[in-house]
């Protein structure tokens, strides 16, 4: 499945990564990464597990600090922000976690209400409820409203997690392995949802994955992360028509298993 073209504004760089490095002890995970991400595009970061994909988006969201280099998000250097400015920036970023990270002591409804109650204090109770219902309808899970996260399936949790991050209308979406551990049909639904979000809200998205189907279905551009560097950036076809044996083996492995 190939994705439909969308309008991307290449004059407007939303995320700019320059010379980013991060190590854990002797483990050099990111070794000087450079990339510009444009307004409105879905950028896929591909790499095998342990490549440092999660570390990269955690740096973008200010959850980790880089050792060197900078990550500029919406014109701000994330690592240098004071915590108040960082919180301001974070409200413009949605983060969809690998395991959804729904608050498991709260119902689905309370999970969605949570960001609104914290950050949209001008809303009335009715408006909050209306917005929660609308978001749940958008991901097709209105009926799960009163259930606990432990009572719904992994795919449903993923969709609720995405709905929760969308509820504050972020300008940027970061997806950590959106399809990992899901069956092919549910994966396809999630891919569709990611594209829908892009078209509907004109968000810029970074999608971290090792799933080539997901990369092909959602990515306007694909960046291949290998040995701590982006070895190739371009459309899905461009990235996988090269002769680099490491990229080729990644491709083969993905479609065999």
């Amino acid at each position: 499945m190939k994705k439909r073209q969308v309008h991307i504004n290449k004059d407007h760089v939303v995320i700019s990564i320059r010379g980013l490095e991060k190590s854990f002890g002797k483990n050099q995970v990111l070794r000087g990464i450079n990339l510009d991400i444009y307004q409105g595009e879905n950028l896929v970061v591909l790499g095998r597990s342990g490549a440092g994909k999660s570390v990269l988006i955690k740096i973008l969201a200010g959850l980790m600090r880089p050792d060197k280099g900078e990550a500029m998000v919406l014109g701000k250097n994330v690592a240098q922000l004071h915590y108040r400015e960082l919180d301001q920036l974070r409200l413009k970023i949605g983060f969809s976690f690998q395991h959804s990270a729904l608050y498991d002591s709260m119902t689905v409804q309370e999970n969605l209400e949570f960001p609104l109650r914290r950050h949209a204090k001008h809303l009335s109770e009715d408006e909050i409820q209306a917005q929660v219902r609308e978001s749940l309808k958008a991901v097709g899970l209105l009926h799960a409203m009163n259930q606990l996260p432990s009572e719904i399936s992994g795919g449903q949790r993923k969709r609720i997690g995405i709905a929760r991050t969308l509820i504050l209308r972020p300008q940027i979406m970061l997806y950590d392995e959106p399809t990992a551990g899901l069956d092919p049909i549910t994966s396809m639904e999630i891919n569709g949802l990611i594209n829908h979000v892009q078209r509907q809200y004109h968000t810029t998205s970074v999608i971290i994955t090792h799933d080539l189907t997901c990369a092909k279905a959602t990515g306007d551009r694909v960046a291949m992360l290998l040995d701590g560097q982006f070895v190739r950036v371009g459309s899905f076809e461009e990235v996988f028509t090269g002769a680099d044996p490491r990229i080729k083996s990644f491709y083969d492995y993905n479609f065999i298993t």
């Binding site: 959850l63 395991h99 498991d104």
Partner: protein, 263 residues
């Protein structure tokens, strides 16, 4: 080829680890005192946590305190009778319960019930990235999760301790009434004859310290959980062990300090 020096410890692996933990918990405690004063204050969450602390341990405390009251009375009787002093029994039991048993037993039960609960809860929130999720949605996880729980355990332990003392005294009364046919007013009068305000105050203070310890240690263990679901069990377990260990050390220190005040 040169032989690689792989691990170098200042003392030994365990000791280094121990001192690192002490340092880290101290830092964690410092962070608590910084964050507790800063808004936003999570009042709703504090109340909810207080309710959980009380609710989790109430049944167990009721049962154990009642039994403690009966058993302690039963066991003290023969030695007092030897001196012909069985009439002092209510007063002796009251002193033992209020000064020593109630704060300690309450703290140990709460460490087991509440400490493991907090350790496991925060540990699983940590490994399933719920703590990161709070942070990226611009909610300070330390204030929202740690400050609220530590305040809840600190406030609730004295309440539970007083409740425990009351139930234990009930147990003691039942036993004394059955053996010596003492009336309830006489029992109460005799029991509180030798209890001073300082006794109650110091037990309340001790309980607050134990509550604080349980909260801090359990939150620290939960917050620093690693290695997936296996780590969660370990966090819950070590939270209980470390809290109990600290409670006994504190008991020793606090009793020393209070005894200075007594004289």
């Amino acid at each position: 080829m040169q032989k690689q020096k792989r691990h170098r410890y200042v003392l030994s692996r365990q000791l280094d680890q121990f001192f690192f933990e002490v340092y880290a918990i101290t830092k964690f405690t410092g962070q608590f005192f910084r964050e507790v004063l800063l808004p936003p204050y999570e009042f709703r969450e504090i109340v909810r946590q207080c309710y959980i602390v009380g609710y989790k341990s109430l049944a167990l405390i009721s049962l154990t305190s009642f039994i403690t009251g009966i058993v302690f009375t039963k066991q003290s009787r023969p030695s007092l009778e030897e001196f012909g002093a069985a009439s002092w029994l209510p007063s002796l039991v009251a002193i033992a319960i209020i000064r020593a048993l109630a704060p300690l037993v309450t703290a140990l039960i709460a460490a087991g019930k509440v400490g493991s609960n907090i350790g496991a809860e925060l540990g699983s929130m940590k490994v399933t990235e719920q703590i990161d999720a709070l942070e990226v949605s611009a909610v300070n996880p330390f204030r929202f999760l740690v400050v609220t729980r530590v305040l809840a355990t600190t406030l609730m332990l004295p309440v539970l301790m007083l409740y425990m003392a009351l139930i234990a005294l009930m147990g003691a009364y039942l036993n004394i009434h059955a053996n010596e046919q003492t009336s309830f007013p006489a029992f109460i009068q005799n029991a509180f004859q030798s209890i001073t305000f300082l006794d109650i105050f110091s037990s309340v203070l001790k309980s607050a310290i134990y509550g604080f310890t349980i909260g801090i240690v359990a939150c620290y263990k939960g917050f620093t959980t690693t290695r997936g679901t296996q780590g969660v069990g370990k966090a819950a377990n070590t939270a209980v062990v470390a809290a109990m260990f600290l409670i006994f050390i504190e008991e020793m220190l606090v009793v020393q300090v209070i005894n200075w005040f007594r004289n």
